[in-house]
């Protein structure tokens, strides 16, 4: 049984950071005619008043009407707060219309304060409070723009699966509500930080939470890829900087902990022209700002999988804020028992590490600079016995993967209508792997930058232009067998086959530029045409990628009805080893995809929305081992989603994805199912706050089994003494059994004056379903059974927050 214990301090302390005007608070709370006024206090020498401070807040929704019309506004409120810190009354003192007032009042009613204090006792109070609603100039820019105050950085790590939904920053009693830009993509999903934190079955890992979204398939055990719309191609960015991998070894945890994230932009397809070199999906994680309330905050977490520390706060009197965090796994504690009954022995300590450090400063002229240093490391070392299947999979096996990056992100608001954003990074990536007599060593020093300029040309028209580039010098050496293509019968055990040796000392320079318009030419319409040009040094190829997204509100609502469509071309360079003259092929060009989306969004109630999205992706010029770019494929499907948006009590959704994904190695070859062609994906998620700090949630998934290639009795390789199965053709002609799994989570929160204590139980695979992950054949492939996935996996955690 996995025991998960967490101590969590101060990551979500927006409430504690509010610095309300003490003058106003003192004046308001001193009124003798207010409930709870201190009637016994001498009028001439009133005791010192401590103003109320926010304990809990929820960002208002940006009114849909105002968002579509591109309107901004500010609402002034007067709040009456009782001696328990609850908001008793909300009055609008300065209205803004367009739905702003209703949204502000609704949000203010959910505020919870630490009550004002006079002479050590809690008293009722009245304060002024304002919400400023602003449309961001940059969709992905988390920092607010002038003239609103600089943001308070310790806002909740708003994690979402799309361009930003509402986020809040608080200062001086004012909340800036920053709406998402109107959608630039045909399909987008959004999850807030709370949803991802309490999503059952994920242990609060934001990236693993993405696997519950429509269009995202089930990732098999010990896999490190997301399966999105029948494809495993995806690029992972951190604020626009590409990172080499998303998960630590085995997919147990992502390389960036949820606590340092503000949100995740997830584009399953037809993404903006600001992203290039990708034919699948894009994941762009945005790092949050450190706390800048003038206080130090800390986090310490220990659980069965890993231990973590985090600290953040101001760098005294410098205007800078900082955040540092680190994590170390306990991978070895459960792997050792797993291997104790086998002939495999651990010779080292398998573990992963990751670390993050942020320095940030905002400048008066609308500029902001953030330095972010982050890295990760994975180690695994063991000695395996003879496998009986391939002696190469025996003997010493080890893996060391390490990477770090330092990134600078600078944003500057140039005017009310324009701003620029510049990101640069450099880093190091190293991987050393050894498996029997095979080895692979790589070292790379990636340097990249990304620049974007955004400007509002007219009330109905914005222009986004940008460039990005990656310079990648690397060295690699490899002693490996030739790479097989899918379905190719194995030539024999690697142990007795021919090993190839290759050295590389090379550098790639890839660059791209794009321009994109965001037009709202008539009511309810939104057109986003764009074009991107990329140059890839490895293939010496120029690629031009036109893309367009169109949205139209056919019913303004409420309830609103929107139809949408998108189309575009996408290119992706071959993997680095595919162009290696030893292991790969020469003369390759970039892989290509043409993507098409159509869909409809139907608002049913203010809390419930349904969406239906259809997609088609035509893949061609795919690199195939030995056949250059002869590969092709077709992916199409439907995604249906009915979602109850998160409110104070409940969030949940029901999604269903129907997908078909096939591949063909050449025009003469057979068409076969893609490795992770999961025809049906049904996900139901719900979480309910029961009151008194209790919250209970569940997730249920039903997913088609992955395709597999049948095997039968074949030949004996007498050089190695092993049987080689006869591999069925075409590949993936059979399928694993249906997968289904129930995960539940129960959580209890105790709230104290200055801190919170949270305990939770997250149970994966509640009814211990023995999911089939693969077929295992006996030595001569005359019998098989299924390799089973993870059993029931309870995780108990405790978390404290200050």
């Amino acid at each position: 049984m996995a025991i998960r214990v967490r101590a969590y301090v101060g990551a979500c302390c927006v409430s504690a950071l509010v610095a309300l005007s003490s003058t106003a608070a003192a004046q308001d709370s001193g009124r003798a005619d207010e409930p709870g006024a201190l009637s016994g206090s001498p009028a001439s020498t009133p005791p010192a008043i401590t103003p109320p401070a926010i304990q809990h807040e929820q960002a208002p929704d940006y009114p849909e009407e105002a968002r579509r019309l591109g309107i901004e506004g500010q609402v002034e409120l007067v709040l009456t707060i009782d001696a328990q810190g609850r908001v008793q009354d909300v009055q609008v003192s300065a209205a803004a219309g367009h739905g702003f007032d209703e949204s502000a009042v609704a949000a203010a009613r959910k505020l919870v304060f630490t009550p004002a204090l006079r002479g050590g006792g809690a008293v009722a109070s009245r304060i002024t409070y304002s919400y400023a609603f602003a449309l961001p100039v940059s969709r992905s820019e988390p920092a607010p723009a002038a003239p609103t105050p600089a943001p308070v950085g310790a806002q909740p790590a708003g994690v979402e699966a799309a361009p930003a939904a509402s986020t809040a920053a608080v200062e001086g009693g004012e909340v800036v509500v920053r709406s998402a830009s109107p959608p630039r993509e045909a399909t987008r999903r959004a999850l807030d930080q709370h949803e991802l934190t309490v999503l059952p079955g994920t242990n609060g890992d934001a990236f693993r939470g993405l696997q519950s979204l429509p269009g995202v398939g089930r990732t098999p055990f010990i896999s490190n890829n997301l399966i999105v719309r029948g494809d495993i191609n995806e690029s992972v960015y951190v604020d626009g900087t590409g990172i080499p991998y998303l998960y630590h070894f085995g997919g147990l945890s992502s390389v960036l902990p949820t606590e340092v994230l503000e949100r995740i932009d997830f584009y399953p397809g037809n993404f903006s022209t600001r992203y290039g070199q990708e034919i699948g999906a894009v994941i762009d994680a945005h790092v949050r700002s450190p706390s800048d309330d003038g206080k130090l905050h800390g986090l310490a977490q220990v659980d069965f999988i890993d231990a973590r520390v985090l600290a953040e706060g101001p760098v005294a009197r410098t205007g800078w804020t900082f955040l540092v965090a680190a994590r170390r796994s306990y991978f070895d504690l459960w792997l050792k028992p797993l291997l104790s009954g086998s002939s495999t022995a651990l010779s080292g300590a398998p573990a992963y590490y990751d670390y993050q450090a942020i320095l940030q400063r905002d400048f008066a002229a609308g500029g902001s600079l953030r330095l972010f240093f982050f890295g990760s490391r994975d180690d695994l070392s063991l000695v395996a016995g003879s496998s009986g299947a391939d002696p190469t999979l025996a003997g010493a096996a080890s893996q060391h993967v390490e990477s770090w990056r330092i990134q600078a992100l600078y944003t500057q608001k140039l005017s009310d209508a324009s701003e620029l954003r510049l990101t640069g990074s450099l880093g190091r990536f190293q991987a050393n792997r050894l498996l029997g007599g095979e080895s692979l060593n790589e070292t790379a020093y990636p340097v990249d930058y990304r620049f974007e300029y955004r400007s509002k040309l007219a009330r109905w028209l914005r222009l986004n232009v940008g460039t990005d580039s990656t310079f990648l010098p690397y060295k690699a050496d490899a002693t490996l067998p030739p790479i097989l293509r899918l379905g190719q019968p194995p030539p024999g055990p690697f142990a007795t086959g021919t090993l190839l040796t290759a050295y590389a000392d090379h550098a790639n320079l890839d660059a791209g530029a794009y321009a994109e318009l965001e037009a709202t030419p008539w009511q309810g319409a939104r057109l986003v045409p764009g074009i991107r040009v990329d140059h890839t040094s490895e293939t010496r190829e120029w690629d031009v990628s036109p893309r367009i997204t169109v949205r139209q509100d056919v019913v303004q609502g409420p309830p609103r009805t929107t139809v949408k469509a998108a189309a575009g071309l996408f290119y992706q360079q071959p993997l680095y080893y595919e162009t290696n003259p030893i292991f790969g092929q020469t003369g390759l060009v970039n892989n290509r995809a043409a993507q098409y989306d159509v869909g409809v969004e139907q608002e049913i109630t203010p809390s419930i929305e349904a969406t239906l999205d259809g997609f088609y992706k035509r893949l061609d010029r795919l690199v195939v081992v030995g056949l250059r770019n002869q590969g092709s494929g077709n992916i199409y499907g439907l995604e249906a989603l009915v979602r109850y948006k998160a409110d104070a009590r409940f969030f949940g959704w029901l999604s269903y994805t129907l997908t078909h994904s096939d591949r063909r190695d050449s025009a003469q070859g057979p068409t076969y199912a893609f490795d992770f062609d999961q025809t049906h994906i049904l996900t139901a998620v719900g979480s309910y706050r029961l009151g008194r700090g209790w919250e209970m949630g569940a997730r249920f998934r039903v997913v088609s089994g992955n395709p597999i290639t049948p095997e039968s009795d074949g030949y004996v390789d007498l050089n190695a003494g092993v049987n080689l199965a006869l591999i069925g053709q075409p590949p993936n002609s059979d399928r694993l059994p249906l997968f289904h799994q129930l995960d539940v989570r129960v959580e209890k929160t105790w709230t104290f004056p200055v801190w919170k204590l949270r305990a939770y139980l997250d149970v994966q695979n509640v009814y211990d379903y023995q999911a089939a992950e693969d077929r295992i054949y006996d030595y001569d492939a005359t019998k098989y059974e299924y390799a089973k996935g993870l059993p029931i996996l309870p995780s108990l955690g405790i978390r404290g927050e200050i």
Binding site: T344, S387, G395, G437, P489, T496, T501, D713, N719, G721
Partner: protein
């Protein structure tokens, strides 16, 4: 960054090493249990031959069936397949396809007639010799990434309780066999009644490889003396898993662990061979069916013994220890096992 997209592909290989060792099924009969017609090993007298040299292959074929009706026989395809495309053994099969180029005969002059008993045209017995063709190295395409040019000859052997016939292959599967072991009614026999194997013999201009040598097999820490073998009391425990276990080890001297110029480290220095042992028996069972003896990096491993549990039935059995290196070198010893 495309550089690291393959990072975890290799990691999956490492995971597979773990998984195959830790997650293999207990429901399957062990590969070490010999209860059918099996080809267990082959030994080439010149694992790395030179052009023109005569090469002799000896095969360890065992009929482990309890009461065979048709005896097992060993047949060799009369001519080795030279330099098949991509070094793939199955690239040799097309030459035996009856529809191949309209040819009436295949390699070695065997008739390409489906349904015809081929055994008169095949070499029989547990050994087979051929001359490594001249020009086999020169005719082999240069393989980028290899340090030495080489040629390849592939010999095919069939252990069959029946006779061998040409069969029509599945045209969509290049791996499909052109021959089958069939019974008198021309029906393919069950998998337990035949095995088809192949042996690769490499030709190099200068490289040699010596077969590893088993100095002795030890049982309970003591060398097993031929021809006495092992005598063990019959296990009377309720389950075979509860039977007493005794250490069994194949002792291979360090002189067998040769340098392997084909496998180099990042500095270009050759590593040593990998040597492992596989165990087989007609009675009893092993703790591990195989053990690594020498690792290319770590050299001789400190723990190499497996365990052996005698059968629950009294009687005679045989145990084989087959040692391989990763360049095609092999040696084996058979050990009589008497369970009383």
């Amino acid at each position: 960054m495309r550089l690291a997209r393959a990072v975890w592909g290799f990691a999956t290989g490492v995971a597979a090493a773990v998984a195959t060792s830790a997650c293999s099924s207990d429901n399957f009969a062990s590969a070490a249990k010999v209860d059918s017609v099996r080809l267990l090993a082959s030994q080439v007298d010149l694992p790395f031959a030179r052009e023109g040299e005569t090469v002799t292959i000896r095969v360890l074929a065992v009929d482990g069936r309890a009461s065979p009706i048709v005896p097992m026989a060993i047949y060799w395809m009369p001519a080795p397949c030279v330099d098949p495309s991509g070094d793939d053994y199955f690239a040799c099969f097309a030459a035996y396809d009856p529809s191949s180029n309209g040819a009436r005969s295949g390699p070695g002059g065997i008739p390409l007639t489906a349904g015809l008993d081929l055994t008169p045209f095949l070499a029989a017995g547990d050994s087979f010799s051929f001359a490594m063709p001249g020009g086999v190295i020169g005719s082999h395409p240069v393989v980028a990434g290899t340090r030495y040019r080489y040629g390849l000859a592939v010999a095919f052997v069939v252990a069959c309780a029946g006779h061998v016939e040409i069969v029509r292959r599945d045209p969509g599967n290049p791996q499909a066999s052109p021959i089958a072991c069939v019974n008198a009614e021309h029906v393919p026999v069950a998998p337990s009644d035949y095995a088809i194997g192949f042996v690769r013999v490499y030709a190099y201009e200068s490289l040699r490889n010596q077969n590893p040598v088993i100095d002795h097999v030890s049982y309970g820490g003591a060398a097993i003396r031929a021809p006495a073998g092992i005598t063990a009391p019959r296990c009377t425990a309720g389950s075979e898993n509860d039977c007493p276990k005794t250490d069994l080890d194949a002792v291979v001297p360090a002189s067998s662990d040769e340098m392997n110029p084909l496998d180099v480290d990042p500095s270009g220095n050759p590593r040593r061979e990998q040597i492992w042992v596989d165990y087989y028996t007609t009675g009893g069972q092993f703790g591990d069916d195989g053990r690594v003896l020498y690792d290319p990096i770590q050299g001789k491993l400190s723990s190499t013994a497996t365990s052996f549990q005698a059968s629950q039935q009294a009687g005679n059995a045989t145990l084989w220890a087959v040692v391989h290196d990763n360049r095609g070198g092999t040696d084996w010893q058979s050990v009589p096992v008497v369970t009383r």
